[in-house]
Symmetry: C2
Subunit: 342 residues, 2 copies
C-alpha cells in the first residue's frame, strides 16, 4: 500500500539544536511523519538520546530513522567556531548527509551561526553568492512581499544586495507564486540619489541586472504591496523583522488581556479579533526559514520552536525541496549573469 | 491684563513650507495664538500672501506678526541647494531671525533638506556635533523611549552615534522626564561583539562615555522599555520609524473598517479600540520634531501637516524653548567631553 521509498522526500533533522531539543524536536518530527506519508525523516544526534525520546511514541511503520552523532553544540559555545571544533556534532553530521545525497534537505532549530557555518563549509555556496541569506514575509498584510536579508549579512557591498534581489525574485516566484516579482531597494526617500553610499551604488547595478527593478521603497511601504522583493542590508532588515514580530505580539497580548476576558466581547468579535491578530503575527509562510545561496536545501527553525512549529517547518522544507528552490536559483543566477558580473 | 511682552515665547514660522502652506500653516498659527497667550508668533513669507491669509481671521489683539520674505523654496527644487540659491527665501529669513535673537525658536513644515541646511548654515552646530539629529518616541507602548537618528545622518561613524547617545540622554531627561536615561545600541544580538563594524566600534566608546550605557537592544526590544535612548544610524532608524507609523495606520484603518461600522461593536468597545489605536499611533510627544545639535531651537513639522498639527507643534516648540533644550545639551556635551573626545 505504501508508495515506493524513492519517491519520499528525505529530510535530516538536527535533533540536538534548539532551546527545547531533543524533546520537542523529536516530537515534532514524529507528528510530521504521521501527518505526511511522503516524508522520510532522519533524526541526527547521539543514539542513546534519540532512542530514549523515540521510545515515548509509537513509531512502528513510520519512516523515521536515526543517524548517530557523537556530539552536539552547546548554547554557551561560539556557534561558528564550534562547527570546526566538533566534526562529529549533530549539525555537521546532518549537513554531510545532505552533501552525500543521503538526505534531500536539512532542518535545524540550531543557532544561526552554527547552521550557516556548517552549510557554507560542507555544502558550499552557489557560484556568485558569497554568504547565505535569510528572507521572510513580514506580515499577511503583504503576503506576497519578501524582505531580505534579515541578519546574516552586514556591512554589505552592492554585489551582496544584488544577490538578495536575485534570491528574493526566486523566493517570490517559486514560493509565493508571483510570476514577475517586483524588486525594490529599501531607502529613506523615493529618488534614486537618496540614501547611504551602499544604496546609491546598488541602484544602477539593479537597473542593469535584468531583474524587474522598480526603484526605492520607504519604511512605510514595506507592507504596501508595492514590491514583492524588498532588499536591504541585514543590519537594517534584522531590526525591522524583529520589531514587526514584537508589534504583532504586543497587539496579540493587548487584545487577549483587554477583550478576550470579556465573554460578551469575545463572542461578538471572535473571528474579527483573530483576523486582526493574524494580520500582524509573523506568518508561517513557506520558505520562511530557508538559508538561501548554499548548494542544498537548509532550513532554519526558530531556536525557541516547540513540536508543532517543527512539524510545520518540516512541511515547508519538504515543499522547498519539491519545488527545487536550489535549481531555480541556479537558473536565475545564470540568467542574470548575462547582464552583470556576479 | 496681558502679561508683559518680554515674557512671551517668540516663534518664527516658515509660513511657506509644507504641502498645505500657506493656508493651513497660517490657520494653525492663529489657533495657537488664540489658545496660548504666552506665545508670540512671527509668520515669515511674502507680505501680500500673508496678508491675504490673515485677512480670513479676526486677529485683533493677538500677538501675530509678519516678517517679509521675497521668496520661498518650491517642492521641485533641490531642498539643500535652494537654501544657498535663495537667500531671501522664507526659511532662510526665519532662521536668521533666530540667529539675530528676534525669535526664540523656529517652526517649519519645510522640507527636511532645506530646514537642516538653513539651520546648519545660519545657526551653526554645537561644538562637538557634526550634523543635526532627529529623534522620536515611536509609540505610547514605550512612552519614555526615544529612538534616534531617524534619517538625517547616514554612513555614520562611531562619533556620530556617540552624538546621538548624548542628544538622546538630554531628550529623555528634559522632555520625557527620565532622570537617568538608559542608553542602548540597536544591534542584531545581545553581545557587544555582534553587529556591523560601526556598532562594534561604537560600543567601547559608549562604555567609557560616562553616559548610562546598558549595552545592546534588538529590534523586538525597541518597545520593551528596557532603554530610554535607542541609538542607530539614520539609515536604520528611518525605515523603522516609518514602518512603525504605517503599522499604526494599518491597524487604525482595519479597526475603522471592520469594527466601527457595526454600531453594536462600536458601542461595546469604543474606548478600548481607541486605546489600542492610540498605543500604535505615532505619539505627539514633546520634542518629536526638534532638530537637535544646532545652536538654536529649530522644530520640524511633517510636510503634510494641517492646521491642528501646526498648532500642536507650536506648543511643543514653545516647551522646548522654555526647558532650554539647547542649553541642556551644551551642558551635557561639556560633561561628556571630560570622558571622551568629541
Amino acid at each position: 500500500l505504501m508508495e515506493a521509498n524513492d519517491k519520499k522526500i528525505r529530510i535530516a533533522i538536527d535533533a540536538m539544536g534548539g532551546d527545547y531539543a531533543p524533546q520537542e524536536i523529536v516530537q515534532g518530527a514524529v507528528e510530521a511523519a504521521k501527518k505526511d506519508n511522503n516524508l522520510e525523516l532522519i533524526l541526527v544526534g547521539p543514539f542513546d538520546i534519540l532512542e530514549k525520546e523515540l521510545a515515548k511514541y509509537d513509531i512502528s511503520g513510520l519512516p523515521i530513522h536515526r543517524a548517530h552523532a557523537d556530539d552536539f553544540i552547546r548554547e554557551e559555545e561560539n556557534p561558528a567556531l564550534a562547527v570546526y571544533r566538533k566534526p562529529n556534532s549533530s549539525i555537521v553530521v546532518a549537513t554531510k548527509m545532505v552533501r552525500a545525497g543521503r538526505a534531500d534537505g536539512l532542518l535545524g532549530a540550531t543557532a544561526t551561526g552554527s547552521l550557516v557555518t556548517s552549510a557554507m563549509q560542507f555544502l558550499g555556496m552557489l557560484d556568485g553568492i558569497e554568504r547565505p541569506v535569510l528572507g521572510a514575509v513580514l506580515s499577511l498584510i503583504a503576503p506576497t512581499t519578501v524582505t531580505l536579508d534579515l541578519g546574516v549579512n552586514m556591512d554589505c557591498k552592492p554585489r551582496h544586495l544584488l544577490n538578495f534581489a536575485i534570491i528574493g525574485t526566486v523566493y517570490a516566484r517559486v514560493l509565493l507564486g508571483v510570476p514577475e516579482p517586483k524588486v525594490a531597494l529599501l531607502n529613506i526617500g523615493k529618488e534614486g540619489v537618496k540614501g547611504n553610499q551602499l544604496i546609491r551604488e546598488t541602484y544602477p547595478l539593479l537597473e542593469k541586472s535584468g531583474l524587474n527593478f522598480i526603484g526605492n521603497v520607504e519604511g512605510h511601504e514595506i507592507l504596501s504591496r508595492k514590491a514583492n522583493v524588498i532588499v536591504c542590508d541585514g543590519f537594517v532588515g534584522n531590526p525591522i523583522f524583529k520589531f514587526s514580530e514584537s508589534v504583532g505580539n504586543i497587539i496579540d497580548n493587548y487584545i487577549k488581556s483587554k477583550f478576550k476576558d470579556d465573554p460578551e466581547v469575545s463572542c461578538l468579535l471572535g473571528d474579527k479579533l483573530e483576523d486582526l491578530i493574524g494580520l500582524l503575527a509573523l506568518p508561517d509562510v513557506v520558505g520562511g526559514g530557508i538559508l538561501w545561496g548554499v548548494d542544498g536545501v537548509v532550513a532554519k527553525a526558530h531556536g525557541n520552536s516547540r513540536a508543532p512549529m517543527v512539524t510545520k517547518r518540516l512541511g515547508q522544507t519538504k515543499m522547498a525541496i519539491e519545488r527545487d528552490v536550489v535549481g531555480c536559483l541556479k537558473a536565475e543566477l545564470s540568467r542574470i549573469r548575462k547582464n552583470v558580473n556576479l
